[in-house]
Amino acid sequence: MADLPRLCIFGDSHYACLKQAEVQGLVDVSGVELEYWGHVGGRFRYLEVRDGAVHPLDEFTARRFAKFNAKGRMFLPAAEFDVIHVTGARVYVWRLFHQLLRGMAQGPFLSSGLVRRILTDGLRGQAGYRLAAGLAATGTARVLLSPVAYYTADPDRFADVLAPAIPELIRERVPRFWAILEEVAAEDGIQLLRQPEETVTAGLFTDPAYAVEGHVEKRDFEHRNAAYGALILDRAVRMARQGCGSPVRSAE
């Protein structure tokens, strides 16, 4: 057991679907030592990276995170893992993409340099991302990051998003947006993972097949089900098995 790659899923409520996938046996997690450390997004304001670990700022927050960790960890030391997969963690790309697409559709002209700057600042400005970057900066664990998935498709709720020019822009631009975010993250030693293509519909939404049960009634367009969690967890497990102990830092 000691020789197995140690994988930690660190996230906000968006990491729950990964656990559900594991519990339901949708993913083969053999060959890794899997651990979860996380809590609701609101508590992420009370976290900081210090001395190579994510530390809660207060006892209450520490207990909340420890509650759902099998080892009762009050903090998350990067060096005790080979791979840390930051999941959700209040890192949103949808809003960034939508701001850019709307700007491109409405004008004025947005240069590619400014697009990169908006994406860079928008990613690095998110507290959850900075936690991931702080972990990566330790140079110990390999840090993967899956941002919060796109909102679940709902024509009524997101009708304005699909203004006439937007779908074409989504096709043209969103792949490049992801590529820029990947480059920025790589500069910070993070491997950013795109939302799996098969879960995306209309270019900028998550297929309702991956939404939590009763998402319309619950008005929950953010959380995902075990099927989605399985895709993310499977990817993380495979990467942990393949490349443990090789932090990503490309821009030195």
Binding site: D12, S13, H14, Y15, A16, C17, K19, Q20, V23, Y36, G38, H39, V40, G41, G42, F68, R90, Q99, R102, G103, Q106, G107, P108, F109, L110, S111, S112, G113, L114, R117, I118, D121, G122, R124, G125, Q126, A127, R130, V212, K218, R219, D220, E222, H223
Partner: protein
């Protein structure tokens, strides 16, 4: 009356107006021709000192207009770095009357700007505003598309404002020898390649400066019959001179000509006025107190004093409240301070539910 000086007010005499006063008590330097009220639609352009004008106007809740504010949702830092909101349109600094005339010609007539672009390390720079896009544009097409937005904004600014403030900065410039088109900076400094056979130094004389400014004013007044133009001269000395003179005397030469042009235009054109920010910063009466130790950068207290005089002289001429106390300027949000939306109670509950369902299903209903 024995002679005309006998009845003049005290501000016409050096002793009473200057020598016997603390410099900060010198008043009435400007006798404005036109009232500028809070509702007056004001635009600004020109040399770097012009950007202080817009900040001061905004701080006092005057109606400074930005005709090229850039894409929605930019942070203050992004706007600053990409030169949105520095002037009323994204030209960067316009140093000379000739440059102003070029921009106005391209914006207000059928004339097209030259297709010339400057390349550096695979990036593309606009020869007429090379500093506005950090790192340059990705392609010449991007550059031209962006410039079209700027030309549209200039046209809207001229047509849609009441007061056009223009700060003249330099007489020295570099031009294309064949076309006479003037660049914002010397080719090869920011980008592009200097070619001694193609690029020629010019130091505009009084006649040329007057000609260019007069032509620029004609274009503006033709586009907007109600427009007032307020000229200032930048007090910031030259960074460097290619004139062959010492940079100090070259600065005097340049600023003196621009100052003379301003006075000549004020004297001959009813809709042109001059505000003496140049004198307030540079005159020996102020003993250089408004300059930083490099004797070039203007200190914030200098800008404050200049703008206080602006509003005081307006109030003295046209009545009304003196807008001297700047409103607090909102702090610029740093990247690490990007606000994140708070979770609502319902959202937080949903998040808890998801975690409980996954990790502690037994507690879900408890």
């Amino acid at each position: 009356m024995t002679h005309p000086y006998q009845t003049l007010p005290e501000d016409r005499f050096w002793r009473t107006a200057v020598a016997e006063r603390d410099a900060l008590e010198i008043t009435g330097l400007w006798k404005p021709k036109h009232a500028i009220a809070r509702r007056t639609r004001i635009v600004t352009a020109g040399s770097c000192f012009a950007q202080h004008f817009s900040r001061a106007l905004l701080a006092r809740r005057y109606r400074w207009l930005d005709f090229e504010p850039g894409p929605a949702g930019l942070t203050p830092e992004q706007r600053k770095d990409y030169h949105y909101g520095t002037f009323s349109f994204r030209t960067g600094n316009i140093y000379t009357p000739k440059m102003l005339l070029q921009w106005l010609t391209w914006a207000l007539t059928e004339a097209e700007p030259p297709g010339e672009v400057w390349e550096k390390d695979g990036r593309f720079y606009d020869p007429f505003r090379p500093g506005v896009e950090p790192g340059g544009f990705a392609s010449a097409e991007e550059l031209w598309t962006s410039r079209r937005d700027t030309l549209r904004a200039i046209a809207e600014a001229v047509r849609g404002s009441h007061v056009f403030v223009f700060t003249m900065g330099l007489t020295e410039a570099w031009q294309d020898r064949a076309t006479g088109v003037e660049y914002a900076v010397c080719p090869g400094t920011v980008a592009g390649q200097f070619d001694a056979g193609r690029h020629v130094f010019v130091n505009h004389g009084f006649g040329a400066l007057m000609g260019d400014m007069t032509a620029a004013l004609r274009l503006m007044f033709r586009a907007n019959r109600r427009l007032i133009v307020l000229l200032t001269v930048s007090p910031v000395p030259l960074t460097a001179t290619a004139s062959g003179s010492h940079v100090l005397t070259a600065t005097s030469h340049s600023k003196s000509l621009l100052r003379a042009v301003a006075s000549e235009l004020v004297a001959t054109q009813a809709r042109v006025d001059y505000f003496p920010s140049y004198e307030i910063i540079t005159h020996p009466a102020y003993k250089g107190r408004f300059f930083a130790p490099n004797l070039r950068s203007v200190l914030p207290e200098g800008v404050d004093h200049v703008m206080a005089q602006f509003f005081r002289d307006q109030a003295a001429a046209f009545g009304g409240e003196v807008a001297v106390a700047p409103a607090p300027v909102p702090a610029v949000a740093a990247v690490e301070e990007v606000p994140e939306p708070e979770l609502t109670e319902a959202e937080e509950l949903r998040c808890e539910e998801e975690i409980l369902a996954a990790f502690a299903p037994g507690q879900r209903d408890g």
